[in-house]
Symmetry: C2
DNA sequence: TAAAAATACTCCATAGGTATTTTAT
DNA sequence: ATAAAATACCTATGGAGTATTTTTA
């Protein structure tokens, strides 16, 4: 049985006439008769009473028509839905992001994307880099806004750089270094450092290690935090200093003093990651929205 | 698009592998690849991400699978239902009957039929002969238990005789004729006759007319009734006599006296009517149940 | 007799097969 | 190098066309 049989059956049932149904289907009458006969044979059921003057559904045929019409309707609907999804008119996209590191890019990217694809639901998930990479691999995420993790395996994934963020020093407003115009790395090696957790943000800690490699020592990591909120609170409480990215002001507000480092150390590289091969058109659109969002204002 | 495409798509989606899916479908891999490609082209949608190591659904493909699976299920179900209907395991049959004239046959026929086709709903409709013939013609009835109407057009319909009912005289128990062993037609020509209505039971009135044709006169039709119940009440009240069929006792009980006519006039012919060409297997089964039911005990 | 469906046949489009190439790891 | 999908090409099933016959009112 093929859809052809069903469409032919519906036409004959509705026209109650093979010749008219054939015309409506743009085929000639004999093949139509044959297809209906084949369908009846396959079902083992007579679908029509035929005589030379009239063609009418049998009881079984009436039941079949009744069962088949909604099926054909749903099928047509399915085709419409799948095309809409492929065109990005409908659907769902799962986006992972590191909240503290993408404060500027994410909202703008969302705005651009929403404008282009109002029918697509964006599922946002606040995740660590590790979770994002795992999520991308197991297809629970489509794209991830994250910081480049230099020594992390990216098999099958692509990391596309969007923006570089200079590293700044965040201190309590009354801290001695808060007034310095230029802060060098050497000036902070004896400070207590408030950092992100090693388990959730290994790339941050790698970067930290690399930052002080040229010097003979690095500051003690006095505390670990798994969120910017608690890290800010800790620095505000005077428990230590933190190294954060340019733009951190909009998270910390006036509670912390943010100073640039000089000479500027290698910056954070913010970007977007996605699977190399299995990127949906919609996800690709999100990537380009993120690209636009990261263009300097 | 044909069902083949959908079945192939489901197999590949579930196996996530063309070679295995091909084996499962009992076809070789290249035709399968081709059919999937054709489907994708027709939809204008990429359904799978392919690389040499893995095949995975795209987002659109996942949506399509989700939409298509219930459709294929319903289709399979429809095939099952239509076969059940054709086999008489399920379905509906519309039966018209003249209550007063089929008191013996109908209940027995129903019992036989119910036993053979417990899944079939029997819709019973108490109708006049005219209504039954119209119902059969417009397919709102499948079969009708009725009295033969000699001069009524039966184009396209078949009347199959089931049983003959001798004509009897029904009187009030104290009526002079109630004691007679044999009642001749001549003895009742001066009686007031209680009859069925001309409009609903024309064949009864035709038969009545024919009955007295040989005599020079016929009894006055004093009253008309459209149901046996009211006819019985009227005769019981002593308003006249009635001519009814043998077996009427079980309707009238002891309220009326039923006497045979002698010599016996042409009897009522009870039978079953149905369309000549468009008789469902189930309806045919009902006809044969009625045949069995009308066999003498 | 006429109107419609069924049958007989012919043709070719295409589903499916085999052999081979391409591709990505 | 390997494993799987895609491509190339061939075969033949069967869908569709034309001409004709059958059916029944």
């Amino acid at each position: 049985m093929e859809l052809r049989h069903l469409h032919y059956f519906v036409a004959v049932a509705e026209e109650e006439n093979f010749t008219r149904a054939a015309a409506r289907l743009h085929v000639s009458q004999p093949p139509l008769s044959r297809q209906i006969r084949d369908l009846e044979e396959e079902l083992g059921v007579k679908l029509f009473h035929r005589d030379s003057k009239s063609v009418r559904l049998t009881d079984a045929g009436r039941v079949f028509l009744h069962e088949i019409l909604p099926v054909l309707g749903q099928l047509e609907n399915a085709v419409g839905v799948v095309r809409a999804v492929a065109k990005g008119e409908r659907g769902e996209i799962h986006v992972g992001f590191a909240p503290s590191l993408t404060v500027e890019i994410l909202p703008r990217a969302l705005r651009y994307f929403e404008k282009a694809h109002p029918g697509v639901t964006v599922q946002l998930r606040d995740l660590s880099t590790q979770e994002m990479l795992a999520g991308l691999r197991e297809h629970s995420l489509d794209v991830a806004l994250m910081i480049r993790a230099p020594k992390v395996a990216m098999h099958g994934l692509i990391f596309e750089e969007l923006r570089r963020h200079a590293i700044c020093l965040a201190t309590h407003p009354t801290h001695p270094l808060a007034r310095a115009t230029k802060v060098g790395l050497r000036q902070i090696v004896n400070e207590r450092l408030i950092a992100y957790t090693l388990s959730d943000y290994p790339e941050y800690r790698q970067w930290l290690k690399g930052l002080f490699r040229r010097l003979d020592r690095m500051p003690t990591v006095a505390e670990e935090h798994d969120s910017s909120t608690s890290l800010i609170a800790s620095v505000e409480a005077g428990r230590g200093i933190a190294l954060v990215q340019q733009g951190f002001e909009c998270l910390a507000g006036p509670r912390l003093k943010i100073r640039p480092l000089a000479p500027p150390p290698p910056p954070f590289v913010a970007g977007i990651a996605f699977r190399r091969n299995t990127l949906s058109a919609t996800a690709a659109e999100f990537v380009s929205a993120a690209r636009r969002a990261s263009q300097v204002n």
